[in-house]
C-alpha cells in the first residue's frame, strides 16, 4: 500500500519543493518506489530541482482531464531509477485541477508505489485544498521566524478542519548563530506554539542552492549538513528512531569545554 504525503507550508518560499525533492531522492535511494506530484500549477519547479525539465512530455492537467494515462506523464529520474515525477502544467492555473481529480489519480497509483509525495503551492486557496485532498498525512515545512510559524499554525488549523489530523513538522533553514543571538525563534518556542511532532530540523546551507541549480538534490552530498538532516528525516519517515543533528558550529568555548570534559 502506498503512503500519500502532502508537503505544505502556508507561507511561500520556506522550502516545500526542496523538501519534496530531497525526501523523494532519499526514499528512492532506500529502494522505495516513489512518485512526486507537483501541484504548483503555473509555477512548477520541482522538475528543475530534479534536473528533469527537458524530459517532460505530458503533465498533471493532461492526466486529470483524461488526455493521457498517468503512466505516460511520469518522468523517470535519470540517476535514481525508482523515482518518478508527475509534473504539472506551466501554462494552466491552479483551478485546472480539483481535489477529487487528484484523489482519483492517487487512487490509481496506490499500490504501485511505496510513497506518493505531493508538493503543495503556497497559500490556503484552491491549490492548497486540491493538494491536501488526497493525502494520508501532511508534512508542514516552516522556518524559524515569526511570520512563517504563524502561517504554519494557520495551515495546521486548516488541515484539522479538513480532517487531516496526522501532521508532522520540518523546520528548515535554521541558522544556529541567529537562534543563539535571539534573532531567530528557537525550537522550544516553535514546538510550544505548533504542538505537532517534529521530524526534522534542517540547517540553512548554501550547498542546497548549489545542488538546486545542478538539478541534483543536496541529500546526495555527504558533506552537506542539510543533506544529512534530510537523510535523517527519510529514516524517521521509514520508522527509525534517529536523534536530531547538532549542527551548531563549535565555538572556542565549546572546544575548551570539550577538552576539560565539562
Amino acid at each position: 500500500m502506498s503512503e500519500v504525503i502532502v508537503i505544505t507550508s502556508g507561507k511561500g518560499g520556506v522550502g516545500k519543493t526542496t523538501t519534496t525533492a530531497n525526501l523523494g531522492v532519499g526514499l528512492a535511494k532506500r529502494g522505495n518506489k516513489v512518485v512526486l506530484i507537483d501541484t504548483d500549477t503555473g509555477l512548477r519547479n520541482l522538475d528543475l530541482l530534479l534536473g528533469l525539465e527537458n524530459r517532460i512530455m505530458y503533465d498533471l492537467v493532461d492526466v486529470v482531464t483524461g488526455r493521457v494515462p498517468y503512466k505516460k506523464a511520469l518522468v523517470r529520474h535519470k540517476k535514481y531509477e525508482t523515482l518518478f515525477l508527475l509534473p504539472t502544467s506551466q501554462i494552466r492555473d491552479k483551478n485546472s485541477i480539483n481535489g477529487q481529480q487528484l484523489i482519483d489519480v492517487c487512487n490509481e497509483m496506490r499500490g504501485k508505489f511505496d510513497y506518493i509525495l505531493i508538493d503543495c503551492p503556497a497559500g490556503i486557496e484552491q491549490g492548497f485544498k486540491t493538494a491536501i485532498a488526497a493525502a494520508d498525512y501532511a508534512i508542514v515545512v516552516t522556518m524559524p521566524e515569526v511570520a512563517a510559524v504563524r502561517d504554519a499554525d494557520k495551515i495546521i488549523g486548516e488541515l484539522n478542519r479538513a480532517d487531516k489530523s496526522h501532521i508532522k513538522l520540518i523546520v528548515n533553514r535554521i541558522r544556529s548563530h541567529m537562534v543563539d543571538a535571539g534573532d531567530m525563534m528557537d525550537m522550544e518556542d516553535i514546538n510550544d506554539i505548533l504542538a505537532i511532532d517534529c521530524i526534522g530540523q534542517v540547517p540553512d546551507d548554501e550547498l542546497v542552492v548549489i545542488s538546486t541549480n545542478r538539478g541534483d538534490p543536496v541529500i546526495s552530498n555527504k558533506k552537506s549538513l542539510a543533506g544529512q538532516a534530510y537523510n535523517n528525516i527519510v529514516g524517521r519517515i521509514c520508522g527509525e528512531q534517529i536523534p536530531f543533528l547538532n549542527f551548531r558550529k563549535k565555538t572556542l568555548f565549546d572546544k575548551i569545554k570539550q577538552i576539560l570534559h565539562v
Partner: protein
C-alpha cells in the same frame, strides 16, 4: 483572519462590525466562514448587534437569515438613527441589558475547550472560557466572563467583553498580543516574547483604571 468582518464585545453586548471595503457577497461568505470556523458558544437566541450603516435593508435581512441558521439573532443598531453618535436606540435597551446581566452575573456558564486555538481561529462565548491548550498568535478568545488558559497565551484575549470590569484573564504563560478587559486594552511590548519571559502563571485584571498583571501561586 479577515479584518472585514469582526466581532467586538462592548458594554451593550456583542457587536458585528463590517467594513465597507469589500462587496456584499464577499461579506456574506466571510461571515459564514467565520461562523463555521469559530467555536461559538452562544446560547440559542443570543443577540448580536449589527454595526454597518452602509448596508441596505435587503442586505441586512439576508445577514439576519444567515445568523438565524446558527440560532443567533442579528439586530440592527443603526435603524433610523443618525450615524454620527454611538447612541443605542432605547428599543433595544432590554436585550442589551440582558447581555449585560449575563456577563456580570458571577455565575455565568463556563465553556471548556481541550485543544490549542490556532492562528485565525476564534472562540466566542457569553460566559467564561477555559482553554486546556495554547492560544496562539493570531487567535482570539472573546468571553463575557473570565478567560483561563492552561497553556501559553499568545493571542488576543478579551474578558468581560460585554462590560464586566471584574473579569480576569489567567494563563500559565501570559504573553498575549493584547489583553482586553471590558473596554480597557493592554498591548504587548513591541518585541518577540518567548515563553521564558513569562515562566509563571499570571492573572490580569483591572485595578485603578488600568490592566495589571499579578503572579499567582496556585490555580
Amino acid at each position: 483572519m479577515s479584518e472585514e468582518v469582526v466581532f467586538k464585545g462592548s458594554r451593550s453586548g456583542l457587536k458585528l462590525v463590517l467594513a465597507n471595503t469589500v462587496d456584499f457577497p464577499t461579506i456574506e461568505n466571510l461571515i459564514k466562514q467565520k461562523l463555521d470556523s469559530s467555536f461559538n458558544f452562544f446560547q440559542k437566541g443570543t443577540v448580536i448587534q449589527l454595526e454597518a450603516n452602509w448596508l441596505d435593508k435587503a442586505q441586512k435581512q439576508s445577514l439576519g437569515n444567515i445568523f438565524s441558521t446558527y440560532g443567533l439573532v442579528l439586530q440592527d443598531i443603526n435603524t433610523d438613527k443618525e450615524t454620527g453618535k454611538q447612541a443605542f436606540p432605547q428599543v433595544e435597551g432590554s436585550t442589551a441589558q440582558n447581555a449585560n446581566a449575563a456577563g456580570s452575573d458571577g455565575k455565568t456558564k463556563t465553556t471548556i475547550i481541550n485543544q490549542t486555538i490556532r492562528n485565525g481561529q476564534e472562540v466566542i462565548s457569553d460566559g467564561s472560557i477555559v482553554i486546556n491548550g495554547n492560544v496562539n498568535p493570531g487567535a482570539a478568545i472573546i468571553a463575557g466572563g473570565n478567560i483561563d488558559v492552561r497553556g501559553s497565551c499568545r493571542g488576543i484575549v478579551h474578558a468581560g467583553a460585554f462590560g464586566n470590569m471584574e473579569a480576569v484573564v489567567t494563563a500559565d504563560h501570559l504573553i498575549p498580543m493584547q489583553i482586553r478587559i471590558a473596554d480597557m486594552v493592554a498591548r504587548a511590548p513591541d518585541k518577540w516574547m518567548s515563553k521564558s519571559d513569562a515562566p509563571y502563571p499570571e492573572k490580569a485584571y483591572i485595578s485603578n483604571g488600568q490592566i495589571v498583571l499579578e503572579a499567582i501561586s496556585s490555580r
